[in-house]
Subunit: 177 residues, 2 copies
């Protein structure tokens, strides 16, 4: 229930609605995948934004959340490496940027989740009551190691594919809003 009116009439209000809806759907899917709710919404908004750069105020307006919420969500996203914080040289407001290599980092981050499990499995292998359990635990461990290796290969292949598609890293064109 959109209790808040809508003090943003100048822009084309037609596609706007669909855009907001798409953002929320994407946020919902990301949240389902494990991202906390507000970070998911912020990330979805940034990814759907024209130049992928938004200030805190823009985010509060677009998502109808408090400044504190945006602060916390952005802090989270920066920590996991999905967003970087920039400061316009002359200005006093931060601008948050959706990082373009997130997916790559997502693949590498798998180490952080598999690593502890592998170590725990190691411990389990040495503490196993008998050969049967030892073998079962060892196979699980082997699988996770395998996945880690595959992830690395996957990251390489993705990089190659991306590079092939866009020979020049078209980084320029950053415009202030």
């Amino acid at each position: 229930m959109p209790s808040a009116p809508r003090p943003q009439p100048p822009r084309a209000t037609a596609g706007r609605e669909a855009g907001r809806e798409a953002v929320e759907h994407l946020a919902s899917a990301l949240s389902e995948a494990g991202l906390p709710p507000l970070p998911a919404r912020v990330w979805a908004a940034l990814l759907s934004d024209s130049d992928g750069r938004m200030t805190a105020v823009e985010l509060t307006e677009a998502l109808q959340v408090s400044a504190a919420g945006v602060s916390g969500a952005v802090k989270y996203l920066v920590q996991v490496g999905w967003v970087r914080r920039e400061r316009e040289p002359g200005g006093r407001k931060d601008v948050y940027v959706a990082m373009d290599d997130v997916w790559h980092s997502l693949l590498l981050r798998s180490d952080q989740v598999y690593g502890p499990i592998i170590r725990a499995l190691d411990e389990g292998v040495t503490a196993a009551p008998d050969a049967q359990a030892r073998e079962r635990l060892a196979e699980s461990r082997e699988f996770l190691v395998f996945v880690g290796e595959e992830m690395a290969g996957m990251a390489r292949r993705w990089e190659a594919r991306k590079r092939e598609r866009a020979p020049r890293h078209t980084e320029g064109g950053r415009r202030s809003r």
Copy 2:
């Protein structure tokens, strides 16, 4: 059920402690990875058990949790396909079995998490305000599709490797406890 649970003090009680600790560590790592706490503990216990088969009573004793908790945790694990429920032909108690192809299913399950995100990104692409956002969303979508394909290949390679290591599927030898 015999009031004296098991006449298994002959076993080395020394390693027992280390075993329980290893189970808890593994459970903790799995929980960190996204599994709910009690299902994580149940799964860790099953994986570390000698023949990977435990009854509800054994689980309640080993983990010091209520029967209701075990019931719920097992229900969860069965739904996600990590455990299967068996009934000893002559007996009246269920026995829960750690499935040996969980890892394979883990890879396939990625579809269930990526699918919704991909669909949301599709929606975002059509609703995007301009070409810049459209391109960014499209690249994300492409990455997720790529990951899905890679996962499939990964599953194949793991299957091949496993088959190569153990030509015969050594399924026999299931003994009652």
